[in-house]
Amino acid sequence: MAKTKQPLPAWADIILIPLINLFIAFAVSSIIIYLIGENPFEAFKVMIEGAFGTSEGIGYTLYYATNFIFTGLAVAIAFHAMLFNIGGEGQAYIGGLGVAVALLALDGILPFWALFPIAIIAGMLFGAAWAAIPAYLQAYRGSHIVITTIMFNFIAANLMVYLLVNIFIVPGSMTPESRVFTENAQLPFMHEMLGWIGIQISESPLNLSFIVALVVSILFWIYVWHTRWGYATRAVGFSESAAEYAGIDPKKIIMVTMLISGGLAGLAGLNEVMGVQHKLMLDFVAGYGFTGIAVALMGRNHPVGIILSSILFGALFQGGAELAFEMPAISKEMVFVIQGLIILFSGALAYMSKPWLERFFSLFVGDNSSEMEVA
């Protein structure tokens, strides 16, 4: 008898494996929490309540998720072309710079409805520009994009310190921050917007850019699966040789895709700079670029998956803050541990469980076929 492995049913591949990976990551996290001397079930209960128990908690969760949707989409579009953009951190940072430059220059001149699209475009342009050099070097000089984007993260960090300390700082101030934008250059908060139509919720940093993130997710879906450019991007990602056969230039695709990726990451700057801080400051990206990697891996590079995993990570970040408050023995950095474990198990070890699952499923398929033979 031939020992042929049964391919997994599609639903197992799309839903079951990610859930198993997530489960393993949380199981390992629970062990760590237990070793610290706290009850992991209690801890997760605190986190879930913190993230979803109040309208303020939900607001924070979705505010974090906004950043993760942008950086997750950025990583995902690059993955579709088989590129690993590890530079979302720097691109988001520089994207925020673009937003701030536009707003600082124009907030005294233009009204909100004009500043809003300008800020979006500026953030995307600056983010794209920061991805352009690594993209060019990958496409035309064969320099590995992982290394160059890492380097660009650090160059961005130093550049921002320089700019804030020397250029944007308010004269006479000791903190390296720009001046606060005028009110017409601030995105309305969600609690304000809902307030206009008579719905009262607690204050939170959740703002209009969450809506932008949802719209961009739809555009992402359209671009990747419903345009000829997305077709070409996926063709290059799946099979460069077939793409060449089809007359698609992989170099051009690398450039275009990385520019889009950088632009998407740049939008995280919109949320932070125009939506929450209302000024340019240091380190507002705070690791969101790296979280984007986890989000894209877990969300299987699909906007629906990315939105769901962004909300999961948003809940982790918000719940983690709550956790640190409720259980002083656990600091809020526990969420980084969980995040790293998720990257490990749903990224590098994504198919660890596959052989077992295949064996498990072939048991059933074997049963079915023998039944069919009998019948």
Binding site: I32, I147, I155, Y162, L344, L349
Partner: protein, 324 residues
């Protein structure tokens, strides 16, 4: 202002101090990547080593136990990296990113749980640290002009691990190029098929390579927390793992050139500290951030192939799948 010999010597001495962890991490990177395993978790390993060393030294009072702990912890991290990228053919970059993030969180979490300080370990007394040692003859030689200064201020007066770093470069070179293990290691990073058909296990070789990387980053991390400093502070590796990665590329995956790249990057760092707020003739004040970013800028320029060419081991980052 004028630079006297003592100024130059103190910058160079600072260069050596700053370069030491870079050297350990760069040598670790060379072992790993020469075997074909990309390791961007050098950063996380330095941090994990620093935390383990500081914690154990704080509890036991022994720097040696601290060093041992750092090595053991980092070998475990290497095993995780190996399990993902060698056994399961997972993406090596993803695995490295995961380790970096886990470590940056876990060091704070554990620090909080064990020492009840936000991401810090207790300040260590000097007998729980690696302290500067004075080489024999410092007294006698200190009176000789110039040479005496060089000996006492530059060569002597570092802690033990600094000298171990220099030693590690020699040992790395010797192992890679003078031993059977090194020959096989270099071969497996270039053409694993050749190694496999020669009847040698590709996986076992690569596991040993990443374990050595664990040992070296363990020493590097120990240096950061209990030799260079007196306690662990959160995220104290501060990108040094990535700079080491850049130095390794800059040194074209060779021990000696990589060490000089570490010195170059360390020197830039030392210079940046020194030049803060200093206006130089002709050029004026060089922004310190520019100097700090220069290792990364230089590496990108090198990678772009405009100055020389940095060619990685051929099988670097490619999982070895035997079925053909």
């Amino acid at each position: 202002m004028e630079f006297a010999l003592t100024d130059i010597l103190s910058i160079l001495a600072a260069t050596i101090r700053v370069s030491t962890p870079l050297i350990f991490a760069a040598m670790a990177g060379i072992f790993s990547e020469r075997s074909g395993i990309v390791d961007i978790s050098l950063e996380g390993k330095l941090l994990a080593g620093a935390f383990a060393a500081a914690s154990v030294a704080a509890v036991t009072g022994s720097p040696w136990l601290g060093l041992l702990a750092a090595i053991v912890v980092n070998m475990l991290l290497s095993l995780i990296h190996g399990f993902a990228s060698i056994t399961h053919n997972g993406d090596q970059v993803v695995s490295g990113v995961a380790i970096n993030i886990i470590v940056s969180g876990l060091t704070v979490v554990l620090g909080m749980a064990w020492f009840h300080r936000a991401g810090q370990t207790p300040t260590l007394p000097s007998d729980a640290r690696f302290m500067p040692i004075h080489l024999p003859g410092t007294e006698a030689l200190s009176h000789i002009p110039i040479l005496g200064d060089i000996y006492t201020k530059l060569i002597s007066g570092h802690n033990l691990l600094v000298y171990v770093a220099f030693l590690s470069v020699a040992v790395t070179w010797w192992v890679l190029f003078k031993t059977r293990f090194g020959l096989r290691l270099r071969a497996v990073g270039e053409n694993p098929n050749a190694v496999d058909t020669a009847g040698i296990s590709v996986a076992f070789l690569r596991y040993r390579a990443v374990l050595i990387a664990g040992i070296l980053t363990g020493i590097g991390g120990t240096y950061i927390s209990i030799a260079q400093n007196a306690s662990f502070i959160r995220d104290m590796s501060a990108g040094q793992g990535y700079i080491a990665l850049a130095a390794m590329i800059f040194g074209k995956w060779k021990p000696l050139p990589a060490m000089f790249a570490c010195f170059l990057f360390g020197f830039l760092d030392a210079l940046a500290m020194r030049l803060q707020g200093v206006s130089l003739p002709y050029v004026g004040e060089i922004p310190v951030q520019f100097i700090q970013a220069s290792p990364y800028i230089l590496t990108v320029i090198l990678l772009a192939g405009f100055v020389g060419r940095a060619v990685a081991p051929k099988a670097d980052g490619v999982p070895y799948v035997k079925e053909r």
